[in-house]
Symmetry: C2
Subunit: 149 residues, 2 copies
Amino acid sequence: MSFAPTSSTWAATTIDALRGAGFRTGGARRAVIELLARQTCCLSAQEIWDGLRRESRPVGIASVYRVLEVLADLKLVQRLDVGGGVARYEPMLPSGDHHHHLVCDDCGKVEAFSDEPLEDALRDLGDQAGYDVDAHDVVLRGSCGDCRV
Amino acid sequence: MSFAPTSSTWAATTIDALRGAGFRTGGARRAVIELLARQTCCLSAQEIWDGLRRESRPVGIASVYRVLEVLADLKLVQRLDVGGGVARYEPMLPSGDHHHHLVCDDCGKVEAFSDEPLEDALRDLGDQAGYDVDAHDVVLRGSCGDCRV
DNA sequence: TGCGAAAATGATAGCGAGTCTCATAACTGC
DNA sequence: GCAGTTATGAGACTCGCTATCATTTTCGCA
Ligand SMILES: [Zn+2]
Ligand SMILES: [Zn+2]
Ligand SMILES: [Zn+2]
Ligand SMILES: [Zn+2]
């Protein structure tokens, strides 16, 4: 849940990691990273593109996808899917701090939650299966309090 | 994990449920349902289309998607996403029995697992958030034992 | 059993997220 | 600055999926 506090360092960490991996620093890449760093939850590529355009920092849509692909490969962002056939992305903090999502099938609302017992169960499962798990997705779908009437 | 035992009844239950909901019985719908009933894990729409064609039961691709949409709306199948931008579908047994998935990012292998502690944690979470949760997705991503070397 | 309204089906056009291509612009080491 | 290399962006393209619509099939009813 506490996301913003550490996210300012995420941008720096991420740019360092890219440098370390032999990438140069271009304007589009930096713009996408800085926008992502300001978020508290996931964004779609289109939303990132719109956001940058709105703040007069227009970037080619292809660049947005390219940056996201590189960041995902380096495990600096998590690509996730909450339905609707649109991929969403959010920063992966070095601390491992993260959250998961509740989606209301009726109104489309997306809420975040985090839960230690859940993380414990997931950690055990990965170990048990002999997998080196580096990410997990959890999405709960249903009707939120407002929609259930 | 135990899927096949109850899946033979799933086809009948599903066809009954459709009737009850006011749907007529068409050949395409029955073919898709019967193919799904024979599976132990998720299939994509294309895989279903290919499978039916291979068993000389060709069906329009549009019908496959339509049937899956209806079944998903009636919560008779679960639509899930293990990455790659392709939706997959698997029967939802009336018993509530189900499993989740481990995906190897290297070789693409998809394995199923089920775990009670995980289900308990998820149930608690839904209640806690005031959601009427009717489905949840859990996907663990990483490197399987074979790929990690 | 045969009719007709209404639903199911399938071919195909259309849509949109995401990828590929390639010419141009920007970065970096010299 | 210069050259070599990487990053960028416009647009063509791919492909999963949906919408459309003419045709076929189902099923209540006479
Ligand atoms: Zn989030
Ligand atoms: Zn988690
Ligand atoms: Zn499965
Ligand atoms: Zn479960």
